[in-house]
């Protein structure tokens, strides 16, 4: 991949709202080159979406997140792909990874309430034929995500009172 594309990806990963002029200055390319390069990456599926990193805990919205480990029986000819697709079609499922190690798939699942999430596991996920076992881990607090620190870390080390 070209150097310019890699540079642009790094910059956009930090801040996807950087204007073209700035991107051009920062990479040393012309605005046309930058626009062309980003357009290419959008078409070829390197860039899928521009979305903000949201700290939902700072909003009023109630939201429950869980990581679910899933053990499945792989199917002849299709391996894990068919069952992974079956699972990622559920709206509640935000992320699906095929993993090495003690279990096969790792899901990141979101729901409005604890009950709703528990119901998803017991009625939708566990009942799939090829699923042989699940382990649900609820997310209690998000310290850092996608390279962004969410909570804590910065203590005010200044004296409380200085005249």
């Amino acid at each position: 991949m070209q150097n310019l594309q890699m540079e642009l990806l790094q910059l956009l990963k930090e801040d996807c709202r950087l204007p073209l002029e700035k991107l051009a200055t920062m990479t040393g390319a012309t605005m046309e080159e930058v626009a062309q390069s980003i357009g290419d990456m959008e078409k070829s599926g390197v860039i899928l979406r521009y979305s903000p990193v949201i700290n939902w805990d700072r909003t009023d919205r109630e939201r429950v997140e869980a990581m679910i480990e899933v053990r499945v029986t792989p199917q002849r000819d299709q391996g894990f792909d068919a069952i992974a697709e079956r699972i990622y079609r559920f709206d509640e499922v935000k992320t699906v990874y095929l993993m090495s190690g003690a279990y096969d798939l790792l899901l990141l699942v979101e729901a409005h309430t604890l009950k709703e999430l528990a119901f998803f596991v017991s009625t939708k996920l566990s009942t799939l034929e090829t699923v042989t076992g699940t382990a649900t881990h609820f997310v209690l607090k998000r310290y850092k995500s996608d390279g962004v620190v969410f909570e804590g870390g910065k203590d005010d080390k200044r004296l409380v009172v200085t005249a």
């Binding site: 200044r158 409380v160 009172v161 200085t162 005249a163």
Partner: protein
């Protein structure tokens, strides 16, 4: 002889805010969310390129004594900065670097004052001026700056305090604690009086980079050679570059005064920290964007804080033009009580607020400004909003 503390030292007033500081620390240690409007330093981190300069300096071998008035590198950087910002020309012999602007001021008073010499200090003033003057054997003479005049005294009020013993006029613009920025006319009045009556002006310009709206900082030494000859311009890197812990301040002034300050400093402390001097030189000569970024953030916070204070019935403040402080007028609330505790003065106001709503403000008495509390907006917008919510809740409970 007996084992006693000297009379000179016993006479120094203990810090009026010490008890509050201790209490606030206790509350913090107990896990309480204490919001402080009492910080005298920026909340921003020192910019990365300056921190890196400090780290590099040690590998570059800057770990030894330097000339007492500061390294050539730093004094040249100061000369260039003053030239660029104020259009004033100084030579190396007219610059001295000290352990923070506070140390610079201390040395200046020690250098200029003989016992009984008077120093004119407009109030509300910074806590350390009167003590420093007394430590140097001088006599502080106060000139009240009234709130309705933006805390700046008039030329007449000023002239009325001049005597044959007046040696120094202490000018602080922008001011800690009240944030006022002196206009060109008022500076001209001070300058004319200094030339007419022959006294020095110590111009504490440590907040000169933090001026808001359409106000501009004017250095009094710019008003002519006769004024410049009588002015000791004091500045430092603490506030403009968020470098309070580096302890680098400096003075620019007449060569004979600077030479004398250097003699005093050579016996007392020698030159300041060598590595910090290099970091300060990098701060002064490097990219100045960091200064503007902080200034813009402070201006937004100032606007918000002033708006929030004036929304609360019983509280008010004038909009300050510089530094990062607001003088909040609490006169209307003195004498009222909070759940039985009578607020007899600004200190009681601050203490009761801290104990009950865990919010720290500095009582005005420390700044010769009874009836006011100083609020620093060197804190996040979130803290400002939350802190003012608490103050509003506090005031609502007063009877």
């Amino acid at each position: 002889m007996s084992l006693t503390i000297s009379a000179k030292c016993s006479a120094i007033a203990p810090s009026a805010t010490l008890a509050m500081d201790t209490k606030a620390k206790e509350l913090k240690a107990a896990g309480e969310n204490v919001i402080s409007f009492a910080a005298g330093e920026p909340d921003f981190d020192t910019p990365v390129h300056i921190r890196n300069a400090m780290k590099d300096s040690m590998d570059m071998g800057m770990t030894r004594y330097t000339p007492v008035p500061g390294t050539m590198e730093l004094r040249d950087a100061i000369i260039a900065r003053i030239q660029a910002d104020r259009g004033l020309t100084y030579t190396r012999g007219e610059i001295i670097v000290s352990n923070g602007a506070k140390h610079t001021l201390y040395t200046a008073f020690q250098t200029l004052l003989d016992p009984g010499d008077e120093v004119l200090i407009p109030t509300p003033c910074w806590v350390s001026y009167p003590e420093m003057v007394r430590m140097a054997g001088g006599v502080p003479v106060y000139i009240e700056g009234k709130e309705e005049n933006g805390f700046v005294p008039s030329a007449e009020e000023l002239a009325a305090k001049i005597t044959s013993k007046t040696k120094v006029f202490m000018l602080t613009s922008p001011s800690n604690p009240n944030g006022c920025v002196w206009s060109r006319e008022m500076l001209q009045a001070v300058a004319d009086l200094a030339v007419k009556h022959d006294f020095y002006i110590i111009a504490d310009e440590i907040y000169s980079k933090l001026v808001y709206g359409d106000k501009e900082h004017i250095s009094i030494a710019c008003l002519g050679d006769q004024v410049k000859e009588r002015t000791i311009l004091v500045d430092g890197v603490s506030k403009a570059y968020a470098m309070t812990g580096f302890r680098i301040g400096y003075a620019a002034g007449p060569q004979n005064v600077i030479k004398a300050m250097s003699n005093y400093q050579s016996q007392a402390t020698s030159a300041p920290n060598s590595a910090a001097q290099h970091a300060a030189a990098v701060a002064l000569t490097g990219d100045q964007h960091c200064v503007e970024t902080m200034r813009v953030a402070f201006e937004e916070r100032r606007n918000r804080l002033v708006e929030l204070i004036n929304q609360i019935e019983g509280l008010s403040c004038v909009k300050p033009d510089g530094a990062f402080y607001v003088m909040m007028n609490v006169k209307a609330l003195i004498g009222k009580s909070y759940h039985g505790t009578v607020l007899k003065d600004s200190a009681a106001f601050a203490e009761t607020l801290l104990m009950n709503l865990h919010t720290v403000v500095v009582p005005g008495a420390s700044f010769m400004a009874e009836g006011y509390c100083r609020l620093s907006y060197a804190t996040s917008m979130e803290n400002i909003v939350e802190g003012m919510k608490r103050i509003a809740a506090f005031v609502k409970e007063l009877k």
